[in-house]
Every structure is written in structure tokens, then in C-alpha cells.
């Protein structure tokens, strides 16, 4: 079974996002970038399926400007077989619906039965692309999964989904898109020998403009601002009675 793992390059999640006053957008030029943490979990899951013999081939796909190649190299170093880089202009703002259309094109071309991807990217926090992709391809959908098992028939998978009320278990037929949640696995680090090896793995570059996809943005970002935190009292207390007294005075208890 061929597995596709779409991945995204994002601002390092431990870095505070800042607005660049010149461009009035989030400053990414001087910032540390990384693979979206949910994408790392998706890569790890694909690699597990490769190691257990379920996956015949694992392919990482990413869409973006030149630097996106670094993130694909990371996935190759973690262990995926090959990578597809859909190259855009640095200025292009691609939204989940467009990303979905580009991925749908690649998935149809590769004839992949299973797509494993992060449930959201920690930059725009949309939590949409996997769901959109499943709708465009009319594939089954399993969102927010924390457990994943290919059933013996090799035609369906059992998934556990982290939902607001607990854990839901479902069986979904292939072909399918699954979006992964935090507790599915612990992603591995790329070892130095594997980082070296990754340099010689196949990485195909496709110009976005060659795909004939409508990339018109549907949403215009009018402005962005740093959300200032509320002014807080920052008052020290030293006992339970003092704490409860303060909460009473603040009228919240």
C-alpha cells in the first residue's frame, strides 16, 4: 500500500510569533522554522507501517517556497522513501481549500490509498486540510486519531478518535484520509547517517503553475496583530485563606 504524508513547514512551535512592523505580517524571515509537530507524528506513523510491511512506499509531499525542501529532507532523513515538492512563489498565500486541491491532484496521480497527515498546523490553526481533502477525493475520513490499526482484510482501518467527550472508535474503509492527534506516537529523530543518506533520496519538484489549479485566495487577510495579554494583578499570596479572601474580593468565588 502506498502512503502519502503531506507535511508543512511552520514557525518553530516554541518560538513566539511576532508581527514584522514593515510588512504587517508574521515575521518568518528571521525566525527558526520546523516541521509542524503534527506532521512529524504523521511521518512517524507512516514509517511504522513501512517497518511492519504494510506500506509498500512512503511519500512525503510539501507545498511552499524554496526553503520547504529543508522540511522534506527532514522527512526523508526520518525514513520516508521519496518526496514531492510543489514549488510556489514566496508571496503566494495558499489556503486549505487550495492546498486540498493540490494534494488531491498529487494523490490521484500517485494512486495512493492512504493519506496520513497532521490534524492542524500550529501556524494558522485551521484544522481543515485533511477534511477538505477527503471531501474533494470522496475518500473516507478519520480525524484526530490517537490509535490506528489496519484490519486483516487490508481494506479498512480501525481508528480511535480524540473527541470532546472522550475516545470514539470507528472502522473506515480505504481509500482514506486520517488526521493525527498528539498521542498517536512519539516521532523519531533523524540520525546523522540517515540525514546524510537522505541527500541521495529522490525529491521531485513540481511547479505549482504547471498543475492548472485555481489558487485564487478565498479569504483576504485584512490585518494581523499580536494579542496583547490582559493586564494581570500579579499579586503574591502566601496561604489558602489569603487566596480565598482575594478571590472573594475579586467577586469570583
Amino acid at each position: 500500500m502506498k502512503i502519502i504524508v503531506p507535511i508543512k513547514r511552520v514557525l518553530d512551535p516554541f518560538t513566539q510569533a511576532r508581527i514584522d512592523s514593515q510588512t504587517q505580517s508574521v515575521d518568518l524571515t528571521n525566525s527558526k522554522m520546523a516541521m509542524n509537530p503534527f506532521c512529524e507524528i504523521a511521518v512517524e506513523e507512516a514509517l511504522k507501517l513501512q517497518e511492519s510491511g504494510v506500506a509498500s512506499e512512503t511519500i512525503a509531499v510539501s507545498i511552499g517556497a524554496d526553503k520547504t525542501v529543508d522540511t522534506l529532507r527532514t522527512a526523508l532523513a526520518m525514513g520516508v522513501d521519496r518526496a514531492i515538492f510543489v514549488k510556489t512563489d514566496a508571496e503566494t498565500d495558499l489556503q486549505p481549500l487550495t492546498i486540498g486541491k493540490i494534494l488531491a491532484n498529487i494523490i490521484e496521480r500517485e494512486d495512493a490509498q492512504l493519506v496520513i497527515m497532521g490534524k492542524q498546523a500550529v501556524d494558522n490553526d485551521n484544522n481543515q486540510t485533511g477534511q477538505i481533502l477527503s471531501g474533494l477525493l470522496n475518500y473516507s475520513l478519520g480525524t484526530f486519531i490517537s490509535k490506528f490499526n489496519i484490519n486483516d482484510d487490508n481494506k479498512s482501518i480501525e481508528i480511535c478518535r480524540e473527541v470532546d467527550s472522550g475516545i470514539e472508535t470507528r472502522n473506515i474503509n480505504l481509500p482514506a484520509i486520517v488526521t493525527v492527534d498528539l498521542r498517536l506516537n512519539e516521532p523519531r529523530y533523524a540520525s546523522l547517517p540517515n540525514i546524510m543518506k537522505a541527500r541521495s533520496k529522490p525529491l521531485e519538484t513540481i511547479e505549482l503553475s504547471s498543475l492548472d489549479i485555481d489558487t485564487r485566495p478565498r479569504i483576504k487577510v485584512l490585518s494581523v496583530e499580536e494579542s496583547g495579554s490582559k493586564d494581570r494583578l500579579s499579586k503574591q499570596v502566601h496561604s489558602a485563606s489569603e487566596l480565598f479572601e482575594e478571590l472573594k474580593n475579586l467577586g469570583v468565588m
Binding site: 500550529v122 485551521n126 484544522n127 485533511g130 477534511q131 471531501g135 475520513l141 480524540e162 470507528r170 492527534d181
Partner: protein
Amino acid sequence: MSALVLIELLNNQVSANSRAAVTAAKQLTDEVDALVITNNQNDADSVALVDGIGAVKLILDDSLKHASSEVSSKLVSDIMDGYHYLVAGSSTFSKNIVPRVGALLDVQPISDVSEIKSSNTFVRPLYAGNIMATVESMDSTILLTVRATSFEHAGDGESAPIEIITTNIPNSDSTFVSIQESKSERPDLTTAERIVSGGRGLGSKENFTIIENLADKLGAAVGASRAAVDAGFISNDYQVGQTGKVVAPKVYIAVGISGAIQHLAGMKDSQVIVAINNDPDAPMCRMADLVWQVDLFEAIDEMLKA
């Protein structure tokens, strides 16, 4: 210009986030209908009572008890003709369905709206809420999920008429097996006025029970940081943060939570924040109203006895 609110039911009751969605929809238009997809006709009766709803559209079928995203998104997109807006409360329920509706209608949905600026302009958080973006939709149909902490929860009023929609229910490639729900007598995390939340500092699942004891004493809901959930101290549905639940109680008591950006994203709109932590440099202490620098076990012991 009318709006359809996609209703989420929890134990046959209209969820708080759906009530917030009704309020948001009313800010956009006076003509607000509600869509209920269920196997239980009584569900429509409780939806009909929600203040502000013009009519309830009911899709009723035995197979819809745990309807898949595939089925729900098809049913929603089929009924969207004639509606300019689809509004749902932000939750795992709506996030599973609304983006797929977007694909079927060729519309780019807008997630986690916290403010409605105009008929097509909305504010939403990026980067775990550290950045707020004002965005304008250029689509002819607008699909929104809205944050339950940013809109009032519509109460009950006069009953609205219920219209049963007869339609073909598509076959599903997704079969429900089971749901493991955490049963709790405590207030619901997303609507509670008080929350006691525990982090990695608790050290073990056994120790985490003191958080529950304190919550019970204060009539509070229990929350947790990702670290506490990852460590298995408590189940996923208690997680507060960027990828968990977003809360804004009157008082949020963070016990042994250092305050990663991703956790702060889920609780920073709380009215009063209390940090109980032995590390005065923890980010949580820097953003709290009341800071008690103390061994957390001593603190909870004292609070339980107070």
C-alpha cells in the same frame, strides 16, 4: 441573507457551543434556522426552544445516531441552497464536518471565529492565539466555526416550528464501533465558572486525584495540561490548550502547570488566573493575577482544610 446553524447535541441537549453559534448567527442575520441530524425526534424539540431560531430543519434516520463526517457533510451541503451562512460552534464535532462541507461547496471555511466585524469580515486566532487576524471572506457562501467563549450562549425561549427534511441518507464507508466517555458529576469544562487544572507537577495519576478533590470542594470543573494528559494522569477530554479545549471561566486555578504557549492559548481569557507553583519564573506565574509560590501538595492540603 439567512443562516443555518449546525447543531451539536450532547446527551440529547443542545451543546453550549451550538448556543454560542446561534448568537453569532443572529449577529449576521435575523433569519436563523437550525439543522439537526439525529436518530431521535425529541432532539428537535430541545433545539426548537433555543431563543432566536426561526425554524428547525430535522433530518431523522436510525442510521444517524453516530453519523460520520462523510454522511453529515453531504446532508449539510445538500441543504445549504438558499442559505448564505453556515455557523457551528467550534468543537471536534463541527471541525469534523464543516471543512468537508467546504470541499463539497467549493468554499474556504473560517475556523474559530472570535468576533464578527461585518457580514463578511471576522476575527480569528492564529499561532495559538498569539496573533489575531482580521479576515474577509470572498466566497458567495460563508462557513464559520465560532468560539463558544467569545459569544453568549443563547437561552431558551418560545418554541420554533420543526420541519422534517426527507432526503436520501447516503451509505457510509465509516462505521461507528464505540465511544468511551468520561462520566463526571462535575461541571462541564467548557462552560464551568471555576476550573482547577493540573499539570506535570502532580507527578502521577494517583496524585492527580487531589486536583479532583479540590475541584469538588470548590464546585469546579477539572482541567489538565497536555503534559498531564500525555503522562496518562487523566484522559484527553480534560486537556486545555491550542489543540484541546478553550475555556474562559471566572477563575482558573493552575496547579503545577508551567504554562507552555500551547496551554496558555486555551485559558488566557479567564477572568482571574491563579498560579500555584514552586517556580516563580514559570510563564504561568508571570501571567497570573494571584501567585502562590509553594509546594503544590502543601497548598492543596491547606486549601482542602480551609
